[in-house]
Symmetry: C2
Subunit: 425 residues, 2 copies
């Protein structure tokens, strides 16, 4: 026997049970996105490498993307993120699209990173953006979308938190510490290291980065000041509006949220698991340069992206993924013999027309074997059409959990089957 | 202004209107697949080139696939079809999966072909297979799934037809013409050319392929014999069972359906547009070698694959794609001024909780401008919360089509909005 060809490292097979979880998550994403009035879009999986030159970090395109030359000599990338595609699509039709745009998407992305728990090379990512609205209300709305997703997925404010910060607030604070603009990006890196190093090691790193002792002390104080937001009119307004959305318990100011501050231009936020592994779940913020970077006019937007791998781990660890997910078959119509097979098929047609997910056993066989098949697939109800039932215009309906069986007139078949279905299905 | 980076040739942007059509088609696919008791699965988009060595045609992998070497030196392919992935996944868990399997999937595939109307390099494909059941009933079920999809999509038997043939029947007929097995594959090609060449040209091609004059005459007669199926016990049974599914008008015997006959081992079928361009919409059949080819045990299966590009053209030409598709926003909550903004946000929360797709205008602005925005997005209802309404615990609800406006108590907001919604939404 030949050896089975392997799956590529960092990719996943979705057998029906895994697919059911993915579908459940995607359905929540779709429901939340559309309830907030966002419209679904998608772009190609293949883009020219050039598209990523303007926006994406050097590392992402040069080291972490799948890039290749096509048979026709085009230098292509398997999209590592969707934002440049969004920018291209908006720039192409900038004068035809009614602003502000509320758009969302979910699809596969690829990054050539070392696969590990919580990170695959092929993954799905939810992107949602409000483009062409610069108000604080727009920022609050996007964070409310994010928090509503967490809530609808079954996570409580004790389990997850969205930390918010603001680029302008931090710029002002750094200016007060007399940290020069030139040092700006480097300081973001220093802040980012705070939770990863011991205090002495961090202090050493900060000094080596060009900060003075006084600046390091002041910076440390700043990063522990959870009331700093009150100095920002924007954030005061932001938190006032958040309360109106009824999800304020999921959101909190945190001066240490700094990731992406060199890219984002106003509000930034990042969601974390509380306790457990403390995983980062998603991040986003306000950007001003998106569309202009790919050749369009300047448009301000706010949005975020969430990968499917980490959130599934968080939801699994939190125990909130329902059992018995998936649109599994609800009824098995058995096949008594060759002669009655057409009657079984017709009964199945009737059940399907009533919206019931119905399987017909693919050939005549022993009833016991057919029931066993139903058990393996967790099908709760079987329909039996033997020669006697066919002659009498009836069908037997069997509850496979309780083994209770009733005989129904053919006209009552659907309602009798429905009586035996768990209401959750 | 920089030039906008182009889209890669043969790929598509899905703006919300196009995405709505794709989503509509995918929803029909999902509904039909699950009603027949099939479970959704998916595999990676990236596979090792080796996986395609066994099954796929040489041309598909060597000339028409996107292949490249990853940073880690792996020889990879962007999947040009799903069947080898299905075979791999089944082979990996052959002893754990309850047979027969009813599995379906929809996802992106890539083929490096010349893009033209009806053909893109990046496309979506529906795959559905019944694996591990060798009965004629299984063949009939898969064809019934295909026909039910066409029916649910709004196509009538006057607009599309699924043509069926059988490999064993054709083998027997060719044997009667004393066409040697060695010539077999070449004869399939000769048959395939019949509808593409003039009769004299075809005759010349057939003779050059190694057939005698007598064989060519007999072959032509054979290919015009629409009653040939009556010689096949399998096909007689097949058409009897099809009738039980109630979709027999969509299905017809056709001795010229020959595509893939060198791969399929029993029933084969292919759906065509009647009239118009006569486009081929999808094809499938029974195979016996699928899982064994990738290193598993022999398992018989039957299935088909349908790309999204051709079917969308067929549905468009048939005029059956509904207008106003997509989960568009249903309500705009306007913003009177900064002071009333939180009240607008709260009203939106209530509407969303009732399941209504609700947009809030992102900032205070002139009412006329906000209504115009609603018109552009085809939003039928607006809610207005001015200072008077806020004070009185009321909200104005405006039908943007008729310009009718009512004042509702806050508790009646949802029901008043629903009164103005077109029932189709």
């Amino acid at each position: 026997m030949a050896e089975i060809v392997r799956r590529v490292k960092g990719t996943r097979d979705f057998y029906p049970d895994q697919m059911a979880i993915r579908r459940w998550m995607f359905d929540i994403i779709r429901r939340v996105s559309t309830r907030f009035g966002y419209q679904e879009y998608d772009g190609p999986c293949l883009e020219f490498i050039d598209l990523y030159a303007a926006k994406s970090g050097e590392e992402l395109v040069k080291e972490q993307s799948f890039v290749f030359t096509s048979r026709g000599g085009e230098d292509l990338t398997l999209r590592p993120e969707l934002t440049p595609t969004l920018a291209r699509m908006v720039a192409q039709k900038q004068y035809d699209l009614p602003l502000p745009l509320r758009w969302w998407s979910i699809g596969p992305m690829w990054r050539y990173e070392k696969p590990q728990r919580g990170r695959t090379r092929e993954f799905f990512q939810w992107n949602i953006d409000l483009v062409g609205a610069g108000s604080v209300a727009a920022d609050a709305e996007i964070v409310a979308v994010a928090a509503t997703f967490l809530k609808e997925a079954g996570l409580s404010p004790d389990q997850v938190r969205i930390y918010v910060n603001n680029r302008r607030l931090m710029d002002a604070a750094f200016a007060r510490l007399e940290i020069s603009k030139d040092l700006g990006k480097q300081v973001f890196r220093v802040v980012d290291k705070l939770d990863k190093l011991s205090e002495p090691a961090w202090r050493k790193y900060a000094l080596e980065s060009g900060l003075t002792e006084t600046q390091v002390d002041a910076l440390l104080e700043l990063l522990n000041d959870n009331d700093l937001w009150q100095e920002s009119e924007e954030l005061v307004e932001f938190f006032k509006l958040l309360a109106a959305f009824g999800i304020q318990d999921y959101v909190q100011y945190n001066p240490r949220v700094i990731r992406g501050l060199d890219y984002y231009t106003g509000t930034v936020f990042e969601a974390f698991e509380l306790g457990g592994q403390g995983r980062a779940i998603f991040g986003g913020g306000r950007y001003d340069n998106l569309v202009a970077d790919v050749g369009g006019n300047a448009l301000s937007g706010v949005g975020f992206a969430m990968g499917d791998v980490v959130i599934e781990l968080v939801l699994t660890d939190a125990g909130v993924i329902p059992a018995n997910l998936g649109e599994k078959p609800q009824v098995l119509v058995t096949v008594f013999d060759e002669a009655t097979l057409p009657e079984s098929l017709k009964a199945a047609v009737r059940l399907r027309e009533a919206g019931l997910r119905t399987v017909v056993y693919p050939e005549a066989d022993k009833m016991g074997k057919q029931f066993k098949f139903a058990d393996k697939l967790d099908i709760p109800v079987a329909v039996i059409l033997g020669p006697d039932e066919v002659k009498a215009g009836q069908a037997a309906v069997k509850n496979l959990k309780t083994r209770e069986q009733v005989v129904a007139a053919r006209a009552d078949l659907v309602s009798e089957v429905e009586k035996f279905l768990p209401s959750a299905l």
